[in-house]
């Protein structure tokens, strides 16, 4: 579903990824583990088409993504929750979630169906929905970013360090939400990054470890 094949990426001339190969099968749950600066976020941004590789291939759903514009990822059913949440602060939580679905041109009925599905999986979002996204706490924001990614991510979602900076109680709730996700949407592929390998062990089937831009 999501593949990097020998991908190298440089940011501002400095190599960040060196020949990274990574495979997330359809419906698979995969962890990408590494320290800060190891290349986790860069791997996800490269999969999203936000960075161009200098070598290697990016495959989305088995297709070479070299000519696929970054914004077409959403159309292919790929959702992305960036590490720093990147919500649109002036919009309400609900508007944040609905925006990508509206951009895709989904019908009102389909948008409501997806919203109900996401609210069912992440009940915290129901009460947050009318609130301004800019006023949320970091933990709440992570939950909203996950919900927003799920609105278009029907085939795969990429979650960048969702547990980073979460209070223990919230981290537990987030992990429970991921378990519900696994049960409710078995066909959904999930790629999660994290620095602590223990945390994700019960949630994933495969783990890649990245160190200094290389898969260990």
């Amino acid at each position: 579903m999501l593949d990097l094949e020998g991908v190298s990426v440089a940011i501002a001339g400095a190599p960040v990824l060196r020949g990274v190969t990574l495979h997330v099968p359809a419906g698979g749950r995969v962890a990408l583990i590494g320290r800060n600066g190891a290349g986790k976020t860069t791997s996800l941004r490269t999969l999203m088409g936000l960075l161009a590789p200098s070598a290697g291939r990016v495959l989305i759903g088995g297709e070479d993504a070299a000519r696929l514009p970054a914004h077409h990822r959403a159309r292919l059913g790929i959702g992305y929750a960036p590490e720093d949440r990147r919500l649109f602060g002036g919009f309400s939580v609900r508007e944040n979630m609905v925006l990508p679905a509206e951009v895709l041109g989904l019908t009102g009925a389909e948008i409501r169906r997806r919203l109900d599905l996401v609210f069912g999986l992440l009940p915290e979002l129901v009460t947050l929905a009318p609130r301004r996204a800019g006023g949320l706490s970091g933990g709440q924001g992570k939950m909203v970013a996950l919900g927003r990614a799920l609105m278009v991510g029907v085939r795969a979602v990429m979650l960048d360090e969702p547990f980073q900076g979460l209070a223990p109680a919230l981290a537990l709730r987030y992990a429970e939400a991921l378990k519900r996700l696994r049960d409710a949407l078995p066909e959904l592929a999930i790629l999660i990054t994290e620095s602590n390998p223990e945390l994700l062990r019960p949630l994933v089937e495969a783990t890649f470890v990245i160190e200094r831009g290389e898969i260990a």
Binding site: L50, H71, R86
Partner: protein
Amino acid sequence: MITWFDENGLLLGLALLDGLAYAALVFMVSVGLNLVFGVLRVLNVAHGSFYAIGAYAAASLGGMAGLPVWASLPVLLLAAVLVGLVLGPVIERILLRRIYAEEPVIQLLVTFALFMILEDAQKLVWGVQPVSNDVAVRWLGTVDVPFAGDVIPFTKYQLFLLPGVALATLVGLAWFLRRTLTGRVIVAVTVDREAATAMGIDAKKVFLLTFTAGAVLAALGGALASPTTSLVPGIGAQTIVLSFAVIATAGLGQIEGAALTALLIGLGRSVAVYFAPELEVVVPYIIMVAVLLVRPQGLFGAAEARRV
């Protein structure tokens, strides 16, 4: 006893009316500049050229023989839309698209070069002699504005039409950005281009659309200004510098803020014109510096979003 107000009251009234009309024009230009800078992150010096070309085009189009007098108003709008729709997409596609990834200083140099090219192009087309066409102002006539027990005859065009169009633009734009999908998409790209792209938004399309809209707004500002003044080389430069002052004072991304700041700077400049003409040029910048000393993010600039 004769007070200051008895001697200068009418002058003050005239300064306020003039300032209001002037602020309306400044708003039209600076709101477009603000929008374009917010989305493209390029400070477009050539934005002032759209104002100048819009003004000249409106004067030329309105001066065509056989045009009925009532058409003098729609012609202003037509000229602005034509100028914006032609120049905006061409410049965005051919020039700006190549410099989005460049350093801000390169972007500034490129748009400054474009500004100078367009400035010379204006001289080639319209010459250096003053051009004027005030049919629209004369057609609408004047109204007596009561002020401090006296009356000030003032043109309806400047009293009603200019502030009216500015107000309609303000309300319309705010509604568009908040209530329509295209508007929310523009806001999303302004806030976070990468996140917007990940949400499926084609940022390139949004750049083209926004730049064109900004060009139309600037050209409309120029077209609306054209019946009130003589057009001479240099009006584009004057406008862009003033617009920079407005968006720096207002802070980024605030439409209502840009409107209030345009009013503040427009009135400030106009009062200076009547009471301290030697200060006319510096008053907008005195206001800007005073505001930025106290609030570096601008009067209405957003504070940093909460991170944790």
